[in-house]
Point group: C2
Chain length 401, copies 2
C-alpha cells in the first residue's frame, strides 16, 4: 500500500472539535487504501503559552530546558489526535520524535535532522496502524531532546516522506495553498496550482508562511513534491514540485515580510577585515542574516548593512558589542521598521525589464527603497514597514493583475 | 556528599512564583553540601486540564495514549523548575522518567516500577548538577511511556531514594506533615512528629492525602524514612519511619475518605464459587477493592459487599455485568454515598476496648455504621457520607482530644 504523509499545523488541531475533524480526514485517507503517517504540531497557542511561562521564570532559559519544555506541546496534540482516531474505530499510535528515531545534531532550539531510523514507524505501519508523529522534535546522539526551530514540523514531514519513500507529502494548514500574494491583504490574489521548489524556497525565506524554508530545501534536495492544502476544505491546493522547464520568466508571486530590521555598521576602511569576522560570529550565534551588502568606503569609513529578522536583533547587537570589545569600537545604528517586498519567479532576478518596472511602480507610489537584493528567482526591495502594504498592492496589480 | 531527594507536589509548583520559591529551597539545599535530586509533579491543575481535553475527544481514551498525554505535565514543570534554578546561578538538568531509566511493567495508567537504571542521574550528580526528574512516569521494556497512577510522584521519589542510597527522602506539599486528622475539618488536629510505616500505610490507604500508599509501602520495604514537609514554611514536618517498638497501643490519627461507594451483590448460595471469580476479575481490571465482606447466606442468597473508590464504580459495574453474561445473572445494588472513618494506630485493630469505644461514640452521635473492617493497625467504619464529618469530629474528641 502506498504511504502518505499528512502534516497538520497548530490551527488545524487548535481544539477538540478540530482534532476530531482532522481525525476523520485521516481515517478516510487510511480507508481509501493508504498507509498513513501523520505529523502534528502543537495545538494553536500552546507553544506561545509555554514560552510565556518560561519568560515568567527567567529572561535567559537554557536552550536544553527550553526544548524539554516546548516538546510537551506536540505530546499533547499527538496523543489527543490518536485518541480521536481510536474513537472513530481506527487504530492509531503516537510517537515522540525520539521514539521514531529522528536523530538530530545537538543544536538545541535549531537542530538539524541527521537521520531518521523509523524502525518503530515501519513496524507499526506493517501492523496496520496509523502512526502519529510529533513534529518539530528529535533526539541528539547524546540522547538529549532537541527541537528544529519554528516551523520545524514541516521539515519533520518532508524528512519522513523521504525516509519512508512516501507517494505524497501533504501539508495541511488554514490556507488552501500558495497564493500570488497574501490573500488577507491582496483580495485579487490567486491560488497557484503548481510552483517550483526554487520559487517556493525564496517565497518561504522572504515572508510566505505557508511552508517552512528548510522543509522546501529538503524537499527540493530529494525531489519530494509537497501538496499544500487546507484542513478545513476539500479544495485542491498547491503542488510544490520540480516545475516546468518550459516556463517563460514571469512573476509568480509577491511575498512580503513585515518583521525585519536593518543594522548599519560603520567601520574604519582600514579595518575591513572585521567584516567577514562579524558575519562568521553572527552565523555562530545562530543569527540568520537575510541580506548583507556594503557600500563603498567614503571619508575613510565603510558601511555594512545587515537585514535580519526582528527577533534576531538582540542577538545581533550582542555579537556587535562583543566584537567591539575584541577588535576595537565600531559605530552601529538599528532601524526596526523595515519590511521586504519580493517578486518571485524563476529567472526574475536576471531580467532587467522586471527590475526596472518594479522600481518604477514603487516610485510611482512614492515608496522609498532603502536597499535591494536579488537572486535568480527573487528581487527584494527593503522598504519602511509603513509602506509595505501599499507596495504589495501596487506590485500585485502591476505584475499579476 | 550525601544525596537528598526532594519531591515537590503540584501545588508547590502551581505557577511561576511558586516554582521560583521551590528553586530557592533547592539551591539552598545544594549549597549546604548535598547532592540534590528533585522529583516534580505536574503544575497544579495541568493533569485535570489534560484529562478534560481527553474527555472532549473520547469517552474511552486508549490507556497508552492517555499516558503519552499526561506525561506532558511533568515535562513542563520540570523544565521550568530547571530554568528557575539556572536563573539563580545553579546548575540543573531535567530528565524524563525514560531518560533516567525508570523501568516499569507495561500496565499503562498504573504501572509498577521494576528497576531504576539511574546511570545518567549518577553522572549528572557527579558533574555537580542538580537533577530534576519527572515524577509519576516511566518507560516499559517495550519502550512505551507509562505512568504510575495518581500520586505516583511520591513513589518515584522513594524509589530514587532507595536506588541512590539517599540520606533523606523529603516530600513537600502544601501541608506541614501528617496530622491526627484533616486540619481543614478538625481544628484541634495535631501534627505528628513521627509515625510508623504501618500506620502511614493504613492512613494513606484510607483517606490521608499527604502521601501515596504505594510510596509508603516501598519506603517500608526498604526502610527508607520519609520526611513530609510544607514547601511554604520552614517548620519541621513528620518523619515516617520504623517507629518506636516501645509504643503502647494508642490511636495516633483518624483519617476519613469521603469518595467511596458500596456495591452489594446477591448470589444464589449454590453459586458461591462466583465470589472469588468476581474478586479475581476486579483485580484483573485494575479495580482496587478497599474492603470486601460477605454476609451469611439467608433464604438461599449470599450477599457480597464491595467497598470501592467511587472512581472505580463504572469499572466494577462492567466486571459484574460481564460476569453475569458468562456465569448467569446476579442482582446488584450500588450505594454511592459512602465514606469511611478510620482509627489508625499500631495494634488498634486487636484492642476490643478501642473498638467498643469507637462504636459507642458513633452511636452516641446517631451515626449508623453500614459496615466495618479492621486490620492490625486500623479500624474502619463505613458510614453514610453525610455523617462523615460528625463522626470524625466526635472520634477525634474521644480518642485524641
Amino acid at each position: 500500500m502506498p504511504i502518505v504523509i499528512q502534516k497538520y499545523g497548530g490551527s488545524s488541531v487548535a481544539n477538540a472539535r478540530r482534532i476530531k475533524n482532522v481525525a476523520r480526514r485521516i481515517v478516510k485517507t487510511a480507508k481509501s487504501g493508504h498507509q498513513v503517517v501523520v505529523v502534528v504540531s502543537a495545538m494553536a497557542d500552546t507553544t506561545d503559552e509555554l514560552l510565556t511561562l518560561a519568560g515568567q521564570i527567567t529572561a535567559n532559559p537554557p536552550r536544553r530546558e527550553l526544548d524539554m519544555l516546548l516538546t510537551a506541546g506536540e505530546r499533547i496534540s499527538m496523543s489527543l489526535l490518536s485518541m480521536a482516531i481510536h474513537d472513530l474505530g481506527g487504530q492509531a499510535i503516537s510517537f515522540t520524535g525520539s521514539q521514531v528515531g529522528i536523530i538530530t545534531d545537538s543544536s538545541h532550539n535549531r537542530a538539524r535532522i541527521l537521520e531518521i531510523k523509523a524502525d518503530r514507524l515501519r513496524e507499526s505501519l506493517k501492523a496496520g496502524k496509523i502512526a502519529i508523529v510529533a513534529g518539530f522534535q528529535g533526539v541528539s546522539l547524546a540522547k538529549e531532546i532537541t527541537t528544529l526551530g519554528r516551523g520545524g514540523s514541516d521539515t519533520t514531514a518532508v524528512a519522513l516522506a523521504v525516509t519512508l519513500g512516501a507517494r505524497s507529502c501533504q501539508i495541511y494548514s488554514d490556507v488552501e495553498g500558495v497564493y500570488s500574494a497574501d490573500p488577507r491583504i491582496v483580495r485579487q490574489a490567486k491560488k497557484l496550482p503548481i510552483i517550483s521548489f526554487d520559487e517556493m524556497e525564496e517565497m518561504a525565506a522572504f515572508g510566505a508562511q505557508v511552508l517552512h524554508v528548510r522543509a522546501v530545501e529538503l524537499a527540493s534536495k530529494y525531489g519530494m513534491s509537497i501538496d499544500c492544502r487546507s484542513s478545513f476544505t476539500n479544495h485542491p491546493g498547491t503542488i510544490v514540485g520540480k516545475g516546468s522547464k518550459m516556463e517563460r520568466v514571469t512573476v509568480r508571486s509577491i511575498v512580503h515580510d513585515k518583521s525585519l530590521a536593518m543594522v548599519t555598521v560603520k567601520l574604519p576602511a582600514a579595518r575591513s577585515s572585521a567584516m567577514p569576522q562579524l558575519l562568521t560570529r553572527m552565523a555562530e550565534a545562530g543569527i540568520q542574516v537575510k541580506s548583507f551588502f556594503h557600500g563603498q568606503a567614503q571619508e575613510g569609513k565603510l558601511s555594512l548593512f545587515f537585514i535580519l529578522d526582528e527577533a534576531d536583533l538582540s542577538g545581533a547587537k550582542a555579537v556587535i558589542e562583543k566584537s567591539t570589545k575584541t577588535s576595537g569600537p565600531v559605530q552601529y545604528r538599528i532601524n526596526r521598521d523595515i519590511g521586504a517586498v519580493s517578486l518571485i519567479g524563476s529567472g526574475v532576478g536576471g531580467e532587467t525589464a522586471i527590475l526596472s518596472r518594479m522600481l518604477k511602480t514603487l516610485a510611482g507610489k512614492k515608496v522609498h527603497v532603502q536597499a535591494m537584493a536579488t537572486s535568480h528567482t527573487r528581487i527584494s526591495c527593503f522598504v519602511l514597514r509603513r509602506d509595505l502594504e501599499k507596495a504589495l498592492l501596487a506590485l500585485h496589480l502591476a505584475f499579476i493583475g
